[in-house]
Symmetry: C2
DNA sequence: GTAGATGCAAAACCTTTGCATTTTG
DNA sequence: CAAAATGCAAAGGTTTTGCATCTAC
């Protein structure tokens, strides 16, 4: 759905090797529209007999996580999932129906965080926000509840 | 640190039995200042040879979670943790140093969520916000970095 | 050629479940 | 006394690790 080269670039820039397994995992991620779990990728890899080990997938995700190419979120169900992300933004709205994720900018949120800091006296240095709802597409084709991604 | 009767009341109100193990777990939770993990409780129970099984602790947490007596949050590290909470509020600032958690109200956040909904076209029905930073106490006694809770 | 990356299988975790036994109301 | 709750140990599920082998640079 979107091209995987961002992931490969990130690796290259950070001095990691561009290996075949990593290209494949990047490809798998690229063809996912919304969020996905490590298990999704493992299953997809097996389905197409890519010969990539579970460990490789986890290691690649870990790498991209630390490079800021993906973000890890926690679904309300408690499962872990990942979404692709541009290094600068760090929040998403995730569609609870189709799993598609959209990035949102911090405007306004920053103000809120500052207000909380002022009210509570905490020196806030991190925050995580996850929003869940139905995306415009799923809302319009409201009839049949589309496939669940997670 | 705070009394455990809220937990027991919640059980009673919901028609669950007030058992000895549940009293003990409530006590363990009550003496924790901030967030805690299931593992924390299991360890504490074993340390004092309370004879409470792992399963009982998980089952009790599950119960309180659904009764709204605790909320489950996910630390930046990816670990699961719980915090006590008043049924009406649903966000916390967690001190990354001592683990103490303070509740915050939604004023302002609601406005932000609405703005996102408007901008993205999503019908947002859930959101999770977790804030992390250093609490006033830890900031003042800035010298030695206090114990880590998680 | 060599450091880095991989695959496999085992290990380590954390959480849940089945079931015989105990406890609460 | 019956229904609910418990403890134990075993099962489930996910993520990590050790290590011999392979591969990108």
């Amino acid at each position: 759905m979107e091209n995987p080269s961002g992931f490969l670039d990130a690796l290259e820039r950070a001095g990691y090797r561009l290996t075949e397994p990593r290209r494949l995992v990047a490809g798998l991620i690229a063809e996912r529209a919304g969020h996905f779990t490590a298990a999704d990728l493992v299953a997809a890899a097996q389905r197409r007999r890519a010969g990539i080990g579970r460990a490789t997938i986890f290691r690649a995700l870990e790498l991209w996580l630390e490079l800021g190419a993906v973000e890890r979120i926690d679904l309300p169900s408690g499962q872990h999932a990942y979404v692709r992300c541009e290094p600068a933004h760090h929040h998403h709205v995730v569609c609870s129906e189709c799993g598609r994720a959209s990035e949102i900018d911090d405007v306004g949120l920053r103000a809120f965080v500052d207000a909380v800091a002022r009210r509570t006296g905490y020196a806030i240095d991190t925050h995580r926000l996850e929003l869940f709802g139905r995306c415009p597409a799923c809302r319009s084709g409201s009839q049949r509840p589309a496939r669940r991604t997670a």
